[in-house]
């Protein structure tokens, strides 16, 4: 069999492609793009939540939030490592982020304006991420699939914590309840937009499906997310801000209003409320840390590469 036939056979048998295996160039490039974007999203995603660590309203919540943001840095590290197995270095990927050649999830270009946003991000944003990512745990590329298993486990933990924040707020004082509802109002449609453009307009998808990188269409996943959120919102005592939302007996799903995909495209292109700040923040951290990284390298070089 040729290398290509072997590759196709592995895919067909739902087995894993591993780093040393032959793979089509487009498969490799597509995976690098997808894993890198995912890694960048973890790293940029630290910012909106990091914004509330110093102001968390109880020590327990402060600890949980600190740990969550730390997990995101950890996820970034796994994912960059997974991408590196495809023959690209982390430095190259970071450079692609900092110069804007590669993207991160647009959801992180919205500001976190209240503490309730820590709940909404957990419940809705992490919730949408999980719906997106669970199928990737069965993705055909081994290192990515394995990283996703670990990440999804932690993400679902985060989602529960976000849900719990909202539950506490919703059942707290009137001001807290209002804070929770206002936050859901802001985050609902951006979360729906996380599943990407409608199937009709989606690029990349067909080939990704064939290669078992992607396993469900954007609209299928979005529907799954909506159906999941509706009963949870009821338990929370919060209202999903969509007057068209209702159960459709015939379809066996909820009907809902689509997010504003034009807004999504604007944010993707760089015109969201925080794109400039998120990138400036990341570049600043990178630049400010240059002398430290240089020192660590100089030290390692002097001491034969040993770290002390």
């Amino acid at each position: 069999r040729t290398a290509e036939e072997t590759f196709e056979a592995v895919i067909a048998a739902d087995q894993k492609v591993e780093p040393r295996d032959w793979m089509p160039d487009a498969y490799r490039k597509g995976l690098i793009r997808q894993i890198a974007q995912h890694a960048h999203s973890e790293i940029i995603g630290m910012q909106p939540e990091g914004n509330w660590i110093t102001r968390a309203p109880s020590l327990k919540r402060k600890a949980i939030l600190l740990a969550k943001v730390q997990d995101e840095a950890g996820h970034g590290l796994y994912l960059y490592a997974a991408a590196e197995t495809l023959g690209i270095s982390r430095d190259e990927l970071v450079d692609a982020l900092l110069t804007g050649r590669q993207k991160y999830s647009s959801i992180f270009n919205y500001p976190t304006l209240t503490w309730a946003d820590m709940g909404a991000i957990g419940w809705l944003v992490d919730g949408a991420a999980i719906v997106n990512q669970v199928p990737i745990c069965r993705c055909s590329y081994g290192p990515y699939a394995r990283a996703m298993i670990r990440i999804c486990k932690e993400e679902s933990f985060h989602q529960r914590q976000g849900y719990e924040i909202l539950y506490t707020l919703s059942n707290g004082t009137a001001a807290q309840h209002e804070m929770a509802q206002e936050s859901i109002n802001r985050w609902w449609y951006p979360s729906l937009a996380m599943f990407g453009p409608p199937d009709a307009d989606s690029t990349h998808s067909a080939q990704s499906m064939a290669w078992k990188i992607k396993r469900h269409s954007n609209d299928e996943l979005r529907q799954r997310f909506v159906d999941m959120c509706v009963p949870q919102a009821e338990v929370l005592g919060l209202t999903i801000p969509d007057p068209e939302l209702r159960w459709n007996e015939e379809r066996g799903h909820h009907d809902y209003t689509s997010p504003d995909f034009e807004e999504l495209m604007r944010v993707v292109k760089g015109d969201g409320p925080c794109n400039a700040e998120r990138m400036a923040h990341r570049r600043r951290a990178h630049t400010d840390g240059a002398w430290v990284r240089a020192a660590a390298e100089a030290y390692a070089a002097k001491h034969d590469g040993s770290d002390r």
Partner: protein, 227 residues
């Protein structure tokens, strides 16, 4: 010193240190260091909660006291650089080296003496050993790294030295931990000069009220609320 006073000192040192370390979130020099600093902040926060819970309600103590009621040493409340708003990694590492070495010594003593705080102290001493190791490695790398990093690390050690005596009980033991690290880092050991202290008596720097203003703002805006 009463047990309450001791628990407050240890708890406040750890709490304020955690708050300052948390300011590094998503701004560390590398992703690995983002993870490491968050880890140390979490340890400090965990220690703070254990000690404060010995004295009262952790959230009341953290969020409803005024600056003169805090008993932390001045070192921990200083910004992450010589100037408010600075994020200077060398300065942060020097603060951590000084603090964690003192914490390790205090925790070990308290654990050995077997009083009511001994179980907590024994637990958190293990974490302190990791903090000392992390800060020591970075002090050495930066001190013995590039000329720039050497100068920055030396300036940090020099600038913070006056705050170091308040941080510990047993200065000789503390120096015995610090001096070898400075030597390996090729950094001068600053001369002992005048001392900056007062935190244990509630006389703080101008920095603490800003730190608390930020830390307490949300909790105080919703009196009596649960989170």
């Amino acid at each position: 010193m009463t047990g309450t006073e001791l628990a407050l000192q240890l708890g406040d040192d750890a709490l304020i240190a955690a708050q300052r370390l948390a300011e590094w979130s998503a701004r560390a020099p590398s992703m690995e260091e983002d993870v490491a600093l968050a880890n140390i902040a979490l340890d400090q926060l965990g220690a703070a909660r254990l000690f404060l819970a010995e004295v009262g309600d952790e959230d009341e103590l953290a969020f409803l006291r005024a600056d003169h009621e805090f008993r932390n040493c001045l070192l921990v409340e200083l910004p992450n650089g010589p100037y408010r708003g600075d994020l200077d990694f060398g300065w942060t590492i020097a603060k951590l080296l000084f603090l964690s070495s003192a914490q390790l010594l205090r925790y070990r003593t308290i654990a050995a003496e077997g009083g009511p705080l001994a179980p907590i102290a024994a637990k958190v001493a293990k974490e302190s050993a990791y903090h000392v190791d992390h800060a020591s490695r970075w002090t050495i790398r930066l001190g013995d790294g590039t000329p720039e990093s050497h100068d920055r690390m030396a300036a940090a050690v020099e600038g913070l030295w006056a705050y170091s005596s308040e941080v510990c009980d047993d200065r000789a033991a503390w120096l015995a931990l610090i001096e070898p690290v400075l030597a390996e880092a090729t950094l001068p050991r600053p001369a002992d000069g005048p001392v900056r202290d007062g935190g244990r008596a509630g006389r703080h720097t101008e920095h603490l009220s800003y730190l608390l203003g930020e830390m307490q703002v949300l909790h105080r805006a919703h009196p009596g609320a649960q989170w």
